[in-house]
Amino acid sequence: METLRKQPWSLWWMQARCIARIEVRRNLLTWKAAWIYFLAFVPTAIIAIHALFDRSHHALTDDTNVLAGIVQFYYIRLGIFFGCLGIFSRLIRGEMIERSLHFYLLAPVRREVLLLAKFAAGVFGAVLLFGSAIVVDFAFMYASFGADGQDYMFNGPGLAQLQAYLAVVVLGCVGYGAVFLLLSMMFRNPMPAAMLVLGWEAINPVMPSLLQKISVASYLKHLMPITVPGEGLFALLTVQTDPVRGWVAATGLLLLAAVVLAYSCIRIRTIEIRYTTE
């Protein structure tokens, strides 16, 4: 305890904020991130087109289910998954490929602080993109219902659902971010490993309950305010697990991310700069 108290926490905090600020500026405000913006806002564009040009009558509950399906099948299983793969793989591996990681490794910053600050910047960027996309999705979806939509949002369950979806986005970015950050340090090309993770997430529901705990999607499933049953191909993207309380699922996911990050911190201590072999 005494040793912990003696650590230069204020310096580490200052360095972490500085690194996170640099990373957000470098990674979020760049043309190379355009495809992640595309991933985040494709459903928004489709919902907006429907809201503006589709004059046929829809029931509000139907559209609520459509929105739940978009979050469940698109954002969680594809958008956030691949968005986080792009964002978090770039943080360490991308800098090794671009031969610029050594500037950080030659700074007076503990490598663990560097890794966690980069991770925080990645989470901030991913949550900002996907969170704002879902907020705008809600706005377009319920604005087209006029007063009924407004009533559903502010006097009905709409706001609570939005909060739950945002929580799912945050936890999804934390979970997938931690996994992809580690994979990018372990493999020169993390894509095959990411595909294995995608496959694992798909077959996870048929695994024993202990193995189900090693899955980001299975935790997120318990936090969804509305569950849409998967049919046909969507059934492959549907996770059916034993029911778990929301706070247990959130804590479980955070613990999983913490374990993965702790292992990443150990790995980054031994990372070497050998750009010629990258």
Partner: protein, 315 residues
């Protein structure tokens, strides 16, 4: 001088898989300018990367002023490394690059700004500081790396090919800067293939080839240890032909060559002590008026050629 003032390698080896980086290197470098000399792939950059923790030794120990890269907060306050990697984080201006690196030291904006200005002015890049690095010439990129490595006033400056890409004027300015930093008591570890220029400011040389340390120490001392190679001496005098003929009769004098201006002669000898004794004798005879005597091949370039030259080009 204690280990706390020195850069110390203790029996350090580095293997990249089965490929040898450096093998059983032991060094103890005092302050001043140390030049690393060796062919391409000889292990110079590996030594520098080991020193700064970019790669970890397979065996042995390294300390820089008693510090190790395992404690980066302390270590990198004292060490600056100007690498030869010609790549930068995307989208940065020269100013961002230097300023951001200073913020990582935990400095406030005002202090970081002051030090960034000072470093950029020192390398003559203040005017271009607000431009994106992506638009810099090779020489400017070299300078901005140098600025970043000296901005925090380190005690140890590691420079991997710091003169690459610089025009003659910028080279002269950089060398003057290195000399100035050396006079302030800093350690400068330089690898450069522009040996003639670096030689002027070097206090000692480390020769390395194939990952093995070949020689190390003061340039003149290293040269005198290379006894199997005849030493070359330039003698400035009024009658070089006469001096050459007298000296060439000695059996340890193996080569004589007149200087192109006709006012001197280069002589090679296998016994330098006997050579100087006989030269004194000739001078006292009064037949030849000797103006100056100077070793002509105890520079880094000559030592490199003698010890390593046959194995590859200079790097």
């Amino acid at each position: 001088m204690t280990a706390g003032d020195r850069i110390v390698f203790e029996d350090v080896s580095k293997f990249y898989g089965e490929v040898l980086g450096v093998n059983r290197v032991s060094l103890s470098l005092p302050p001043g300018v140390t030049t690393l000399v060796g062919p391409n792939g000889s292990g110079k950059t590996t030594l520098m990367n080991l020193m700064t923790g970019l790669v970890q030794p397979s065996s042995g120990r390294i300390s820089v002023l008693g510090l190790t890269p395992g404690d980066p907060n302390e270590f990198f306050r004292e060490v600056g490394y100007c690498t030869q990697f010609d790549s930068f984080p995307r989208g940065l201006t020269g100013w961002d690059f230097v300023f951001d690196s200073l913020l990582l030291h935990g400095m406030g904006s005002a202090n970081a700004s002051k030090l960034a200005c000072e470093a950029l002015e020192r390398v003559g890049l203040m005017e271009a500081a607000r431009r994106k690095i992506a638009g810099y010439s090779k020489g400017m990129r070299q300078k901005i790396r140098l600025a970043q490595s000296i901005a925090h006033h380190p005690q140890v400056l590691v420079l991997d090919e710091p003169l690459n890409g610089l025009d003659p004027m910028a080279r002269a300015e950089s060398l003057a800067l290195f000399e100035e930093l050396s006079r302030l008591g800093m350690h400068l570890i330089i690898s450069s293939h522009i040996l003639d220029e670096v030689d002027r400011i070097s206090d000692r040389v480390v020769l390395i080839t194939g990952g093995y340390l070949v020689a190390e120490g003061n340039i003149h001392a290293v040269r005198s240890e290379v006894r199997d190679k005849p030493m070359q001496v330039l003698i400035r005098c009024d009658r070089p032909e006469l001096l050459a003929s007298r000296m060439f009769t000695l059996n340890h004098c193996v080569e004589a060559r007149l200087h192109s201006d006709g006012h001197g002669v280069f002589l090679r000898t296998t016994d330098i002590d006997e050579f100087y004794r006989l030269l004194n004798g000739i001078a006292t005879e009064g037949l030849v008026n000797i103006e100056a005597v100077a070793p002509a091949d105890d520079d880094t370039h000559a030592i490199y050629q003698y010890l390593i030259g046959s194995e590859g080009g200079a790097s």
